[in-house]
């Protein structure tokens, strides 16, 4: 009997120990000393490697650095799951997540949590060759926390059989809509379903008109301006006039691409990935009849939102010197070139966009460069999820016509204000 009782007590003890282990994250001592100059094997964490870019790169690195091997930890292909996975490992102060690949919109959140090693002092990166807008996405509170790894920008796809010269400004594009009407197709579409793509498109409209969503500090809303109003008003009017077809309110990237490939749209705002698909897809009816141009703006090219990912070093890494070298390796010209040729990813080094060989293979690169050069990052804020929610909810209501543009911008600003002050 005693033995049983003892074993039960032991069982409870073990269970509560396990519990204490689970609840970690809040307590525990911080251990980010050491590591600084240390070298050794590290792990690189990234979302699903769909076009087999990362493994060849890591093989190459491992051959050159047999004592500082990199292991690849592959996450799922869902952005939300990647985000939550990183959060969980950082909260557990996991020293096995040395170099992590973060979406541009998560950088500020992770930096403010103290999870990313500031890239200052001996970790200073050389940003001189990079497209400046990409560096902004990795910078929080004037300190760089993440090194741009890949970029992305919106471009305008148009039907060159119907519109010989692409429109340079929004007004020119709207004027071209009469051509679409004659041809019996929709004129222009972007991504207006209520998801992250809507924030991208609304930010582009507002930035193109010269407005901003938040100020330099990343939290004070700056939507009460004529420019911001002009930007959102353009999209709202587009829906009202029918220049943007009503069903575009349900479009994400793929629905827009399908409509364009089916010949149902004159203009489409989308990412560069559409280029190859529209050229090669069996179902594409516009293979030889579409062209690309920078997004239309106000005089000059429009302001695209920036996509892409940054590489960052975890503060909990035990081999930061190796991690730093690996981040530099990811940003090297050779690696960046490989990103383009192997994965059709957009590089962050400016000169690559003018590379003749690459342009022959990827004709959209020079257009994309214009797009990224004029691009404005989405708000760099630790409260990005709340900001994007504020933008999406109110912009969506305005596009649907159930909220006036003024009201939508006011609510957007108010909601952004509440984002930074707890709940």
């Amino acid at each position: 009997m005693k033995a049983t009782r003892l074993s039960i007590i032991a069982g409870i003890a073990v269970a509560s120990l396990a519990l204490a282990g689970c609840s970690g994250g809040s307590g525990g001592s911080s251990d980010n000393s050491g590591g600084d100059d240390s070298r050794g094997p590290i792990t690189y964490v990234q979302g699903k490697d769909n076009s087999n870019v990362v493994r060849p790169l890591i093989d190459k690195w491992n051959k050159a650095h047999p004592k500082e091997k990199v292991t690849f930890k592959e996450q799922s292909d869902q952005a939300d799951q990647q985000h939550d996975d990183l959060v969980q490992h950082f909260q557990a102060k996991d020293s096995n997540y040395d170099v992590v690949d973060v979406d541009v919109i998560w950088t500020a959140e992770f930096a403010a949590k103290g999870w990313l090693q500031p890239l200052t002092g001996k970790y200073k990166m050389d940003n001189s060759k990079l497209l400046p807008a990409t560096v902004k996405t990795g910078t929080y509170n004037k300190i760089q926390y993440a090194a741009p790894q890949t970029s992305d920008g919106g471009i305008l796809y148009y039907r060159k059989d119907l519109v010989p010269t692409p429109p340079k400004t929004w007004d020119e594009m709207m004027a071209d809509c009469s051509i679409a009407k004659q041809a019996g197709i929709g004129c222009y579409a972007g991504q207006y379903a209520k998801y992250e793509g809507l924030t991208v498109n609304v930010a582009e409209a507002i930035n193109t008109a010269g407005g901003t969503i938040v100020g330099e500090d990343g939290k004070t809303p700056t939507l009460n301006t004529p420019e911001a109003k002009k930007g959102l008003q353009r999209l709202v009017d587009g829906f009202k006039d029918g220049n943007i077809p009503a069903e575009a309110i349900t479009y994400q990237e793929e629905q827009g691409r399908q409509a364009f490939e089916a010949g149902k749209l004159l203009f489409l705002r989308n990412w560069p990935y559409v280029f190859n698909l529209a050229k090669t897809d069996g179902s594409s009816t516009v293979k030889d009849t579409f062209g690309i141009a920078p997004l239309p703006g106000d005089g000059g090219p429009g302001a695209s939102s920036l996509g892409g990912h940054n590489a960052a070093i975890s503060t909990y890494s035990k081999h930061k010197a190796t991690a730093f070298d690996f981040v530099k390796f990811l940003q090297s010209e050779e690696t960046q070139k490989f990103f383009v040729t192997q994965g059709s990813l957009s590089p962050v080094i400016a000169s690559l966009y003018d590379d003749a060989d690459l342009n022959a293979k990827f004709p959209y690169l020079s257009t994309l460069k214009t797009s990224i050069e004029h691009a404005v990052p989405r708000p760099v804020s630790p409260f990005y999820p709340a900001i994007t929610k504020a933008v999406q909810d109110n912009a969506y209501a305005a596009l649907k016509g159930s909220m006036s543009v003024d009201e939508a911008l006011k609510n957007m600003g108010d909601a952004i204000k509440t984002a930074g002050s707890g709940s």
Binding site: M1, K2, T4, I8, G11, I12, A15, A18, L19, S23, D80, H83, A112, K113, G114, Y140, N141, A193, K194, Y195, A246, E247, I249, T250, Q255, Q258, A259, P382, F383, P385, A386, K389, A390, V391, Q392, D393, N394, Y396, A397, K400, S402, M403, N411, M412, D414, A415, I416, K417, T418, A419, G420, S421, G422, S423
Partner: protein, 342 residues
């Protein structure tokens, strides 16, 4: 056996030895029972008790805020009921520490809408599924050629994972999808306020009616054939046989099935999350409470804990009311059934 067990009966000498022996045996039995149950109790405490308590504790903490000097996150501290008033009274805190009504675009402003949407889905889908499920069960309960095939066919929607179902209906309801092609309409199923709600209801009914049918069928099969024969001999019409014989006898199974479905429908997440992303109408026409919780998790755990505690209480109250007022009936029906009164 060790010393303590022997010592105890000695202390109670006045009692007859025979009874003491029986008592001792019973006490030993009880202790063994306790030891046997203990692992389950401990396991339940770990997997159910701990998370619930932890969530409630978290819901009284403020979400981390920024230190204005460093721009780094700092712990929020004790929040009192502010996380709860945030949801229930739609109060948002402002930068200067005061409170203001939550503006649209803040998750807090969506609470009552989400509550309405959740209950609307629950009421409509459960009613539809009960009626259709009953009908399906009656068909499956008959003997006819190819009954096995029909039974299997009816079960297919239930066997498909919800995420797949949602994606399936997502394509059906897309603007150029088959739903619009068949109906010859241009309805924006995922964007219009009521169309998006009905899209969810249609998909959910399609998916879960077989579950209802299965549970009701189990109840139908318990009804002995001779009751019907007796009713026939007494000259009962088909309708009377259904209303006076089938319904009362199938009621216990039906009630359990309805209860399950209500609890399930109140926490509906995956179907609207994938089919409409919680959108439609002004962007929140299909946002249920669970979708709101998941959205909030990315903005702050503690406030999300408060919301999930509220959701838990809502579901608990609904289940309690149901069991108290209708569930008590379930037990009584079963008892009288056993006594042969029905």
């Amino acid at each position: 056996m060790s010393a303590p067990e022997v010592a105890k009966p000695v202390a109670r000498t006045p009692k007859p030895p025979m009874r003491a022996g029986a008592k001792k045996a019973r006490r030993g039995e009880r202790r063994v029972a306790l030891y046997l149950i203990a692992p389950t109790i401990i396991l339940l405490a770990i997997v159910i008790g701990y998370p619930v308590v932890s969530a409630i504790v978290m819901s009284f903490q403020k979400d981390a805020g920024l230190d204005p000097a460093t721009g780094m996150f700092v712990q929020g501290g004790f929040a009192g009921f502010s996380n709860y008033t945030h949801w229930l009274l739609q109060q948002c805190s402002t930068a200067d520490g005061g409170t203001t009504a939550c503006p649209p675009g803040n998750l807090g402003s969506g609470f009552w809408n989400a509550t309405f949407v959740t209950f609307f889905f629950t009421v409509v889908t459960v009613i539809l599924e009960t009626v259709l499920g009953m009908w399906m069960a009656l068909i499956m309960n008959r003997t006819f050629k190819g009954r096995g095939l029909v039974r299997a066919a009816i079960l297919i929607p239930w066997a498909i994972p919800t995420a797949v179902t949602a994606k399936l209906w997502f394509f059906i309801f897309s603007v150029s999808g088959i739903a619009n092609a068949l109906l010859n309409t241009q309805i924006l199923w995922t964007s219009d306020e009521w169309a998006s709600r009905f899209a969810i209801i249609i998909a959910d009914t399609w998916k879960t009616t077989p579950f209802m049918a299965l549970l009701i069928l189990a109840g139908l099969q318990l009804i002995p054939e001779d009751v019907y024969e007796a009713a026939k001999v007494d000259g009962a019409t088909t309708f009377q046989r259904f209303w006076r014989v089938t319904m009362p006898l199938v009621k216990p199974a039906l009630m359990v099935a309805v209860l399950f479905r209500i609890l399930d429908a109140l926490r509906i997440y995956d179907l609207p999350a994938i089919l409409t992303g919680g959108g439609g109408g002004n962007g929140n026409a299909t946002t249920t409470l669970s979708i709101l919780v998941i959205d909030q998790i990315r903005q702050g755990f503690n406030s999300a804990s408060a919301l999930s505690t509220i959701t838990f209480l809502i579901i608990f109250i609904v289940a309690f009311i149901f069991v108290r007022f209708l569930g008590a009936n379930v037990v009584r029906t079963q008892e009288s059934q056993q006594k042969g009164k029905l």
